[in-house]
């Protein structure tokens, strides 16, 4: 039985299997990983090249595809004003 971690996505708590990328965890809920005033984006390159999976993690802008989902993480797919 895999160990589980608790994370928050856009204010909603989730229990997910440990040892996954934030991208994988987001995609389990929805194909949209990023919401801006210009529209929505999903995962594209999955390897840190296209930079379209920038999400807010605990106040920092991080790439969902390169970041491991760790217990207690607060993830927001919505970008604050001033960013694209």
């Amino acid at each position: 039985m895999s160990s589980m971690v608790s994370i928050w996505i856009d204010g909603v708590p989730h229990r997910v299997v440990a040892g996954q990328s934030v991208a994988a965890v987001l995609l389990d809920a929805s194909p949209v990983v990023r919401v801006t005033s210009k529209g929505t984006r999903g995962l594209f390159c999955g390897m840190g090249s296209c930079l379209e999976c920038r999400v807010d993690i605990d106040g920092q802008s991080r790439l969902a595809c390169l970041t491991e989902a760790i217990d207690g993480m607060r993830i927001s797919t919505r970008q604050t004003e001033g960013s694209r």
């Binding site: 040892g19 929805s30 990983v33 594209f44 999955g46 296209c50 930079l51």
Partner: protein
Amino acid sequence: MNETDVIVIGAGPAGLETARVLGEHLAVILVDENVRVGGQLTRQRFNAQPGLESTLPASVDLRLGWTALGWTPQGALIGRNADTVESLSAPVVVGALGAREYVEPLPGWLLPGAMTVGGAQTLLKGSGRVPFRRVVVDGTGPLPFAAAAQFAAAGVEVVALLGGLGGIAPLRVWPNLVRGGAALMQGARSSWHLARHRVPVHPRGRVLRVLGTDRVEGVEVELKPGGPRSELQCDAVLFSHGFSSANDLLVRRGAEVMLDVDGTTQLIRDDACQTTVPGLYAAGDCAGVLGGPTAVLEGRIVAEVILARHGIATDARALVRLRRKVASLGAFQSAVKQISVTRSRSTLARDVVVCRCEGVTCGDIQDAVAAGVTSQPGIKLWTRAGMGPCQGRSCDRVIRDLARTPSPRPALPGSLQFPAKPLPLSEVASTRFTAQEGESP
């Protein structure tokens, strides 16, 4: 503090091999922006234990989650992890940055659910499953062929594979194909999985348009060139239309490149894998996309060359054998390329977005070219194409293709600006910048 002899950028197949060989004799720093080593081709589960890291000598200074950002004027490498921005200095640097996938723009390709084949494979390798039920795979070559088989074996419904390996190989290509050995076996296994899961394969088909309002709901396809169009329902479409070497960081350092016929840039190296910048070497796919086995061999060649430069005895005959094996694998790769159906670049519609970051369309670029702005840097300044966060990594090939003028001089390659990846000002202000005396970005 010990001085570093070699910095290796990238811990994929090439970089790991270089660090493994050098680490026995020299002070090596190995950096990679991923949280695990392995790169794309030997990607591990996030929680794999013991992991490929354990194959490195204990003396190697391994820094994971470390993103390279650029260079100081003195040639030190600037980069960051979560806490610190710093510069690393060594007389020898090996770039093993790999390659990235190329996707040709088409209508609807921005929709959530449309992604690269590699991106979907990363999900499968990283967490053991793919978060889609029905996928269409579109692309020619061994990667989409093998990936479609992997997804089918993992329980995903592969609605169709458009492209794959193309038709039967011409007879002249077989002698080189046979040298492929293990790769041929992989091809046979993939064929078996595709047949077993009854995946429809259309070697000359392609996706014309991605359908959906807020996410991928289906695709419009032609199953053969100029044939009747039909629609397939799916919740993800996976594209693989080629590869580009990730050499931008090295070009930023001053390494010269040449333009290849397919619009990609290729690092100019001598037969010791050294770039035109003395002390800067390149190994693996970032110096020409030839795949994993070649990357490992090049990683070893670079390590042996550097050891020889340090006066550490190496086996000269082994080096010759390595070089011969690289040449043989190169021949296999080009044979595979010959049997993959080559797609002619379709004419892009004016309203198709070319620069994903900035939303610049094909029409915007064509208007710029018609107005006399024909160079790639000029188009970047005029339209903002290539000015977004990815700095042209997703779109440089298409912009270069649209920028071509009738004159014989090729359009200039785009150039990377510092920082290579986004660096919020707040993080620079609040973190320590450690640099050697006299240096600045």
